[in-house]
Point group: C2
Chain length 175, copies 2
């Protein structure tokens, strides 16, 4: 088993939301090894459940990958923001639904090999329709799907977002 | 629906494996908006299935989050590397098993809001024991679990890695 020693840790680039940190380790052989980490403030994501096993997904343009994806609503935590508050806010903003009940079902790391992001996952029930309030830079279209249809989309590769697949699995296996 | 125009796109920091790219957009209001993206070479991940519904997981120290996590074997694609070849390599290196059969079951984005990483997910069958070959910087312990036990670990939050949860869901729902 490798045993390595941290020598120095330094911010290599501080962006608007992301921070790239380098950590230099000394390996047992004496060689040095640089490990890069993206520091991320954390996220929330919500599975919005309507009555009769229907779900709200959003079709969203993702500039980072230049693609439209089907996802559950989600967002980055603002500084000091409570994940539940973030989840309630993102649900309204992105889908136009408000939840009477918001229950935490999981927390997971999106890519723990290089990124600190943790997603706090909620299920939202007792939804009522309000007004969708998008940020000016967001391109988002909500749509209602039967859960079975969403699971088929996962199987066929029409849903390709990790948090959405995780959210659907949790819901499906607890129904 | 927001319609925005890309003004300029520039590498803000080029790391060893990760590259931080900034893209400046003009929003409909005329305001400028900076979007940060982590460019990542992509990954592979493997669900190693032993006979009688058992699975190999690895317990792995993750320096980025300073935690040990239970995960399926996985790795970053090397430049120009075929994902299947990467999956076969990582399976041997991290678990000490070689697969006669390696089948692609999905591809998904880990965090498409800010990162280009796509995970190519495989299931490995017909495993035979070889020698685990860790990189010098890796601290990894493989262990065999019944699939039902692994699913309980997901429910209880003892497995908190997105690709592992996705992999287990795909396997469980197709058994």
């Amino acid at each position: 088993m490798a045993s390595k020693k941290s020598l120095v840790r330094r911010t290599l680039y501080a962006g608007k939301k992301l921070r790239l940190v380098g950590e230099l380790f000394r390996l047992p052989s004496g060689k040095k090894h640089l490990h890069e980490t993206i520091h991320h403030p954390g996220s929330c994501a919500v599975v919005p459940l309507l009555s009769r096993n229907r779900i709200v997904l959003i079709h969203q343009k993702r500039p980072s990958i230049r693609k439209w994806l089907w996802e559950i609503p989600a967002g980055t935590l603002e500084r000091g923001e409570n994940p539940r508050r973030c989840a309630a806010r993102e649900l309204v903003e992105e889908t136009g639904y408000r939840a009477k009940q918001l229950k935490k079902i999981a927390a997971f790391y999106t890519s723990p090999g290089f990124c600190t992001e943790i997603v706090h996952l909620y299920v939202a029930r007792n939804l009522s329709s309000v007004t969708q309030k998008l940020e000016e830079d967001e391109a988002i279209q909500p749509r209602i799907f039967p859960i079975q249809k969403a699971l088929q989309m996962v199987k066929k590769g029409a849903i390709r977002d990790a948090k959405t697949i995780v959210g659907l699995c949790f819901i499906y296996n607890s129904l």
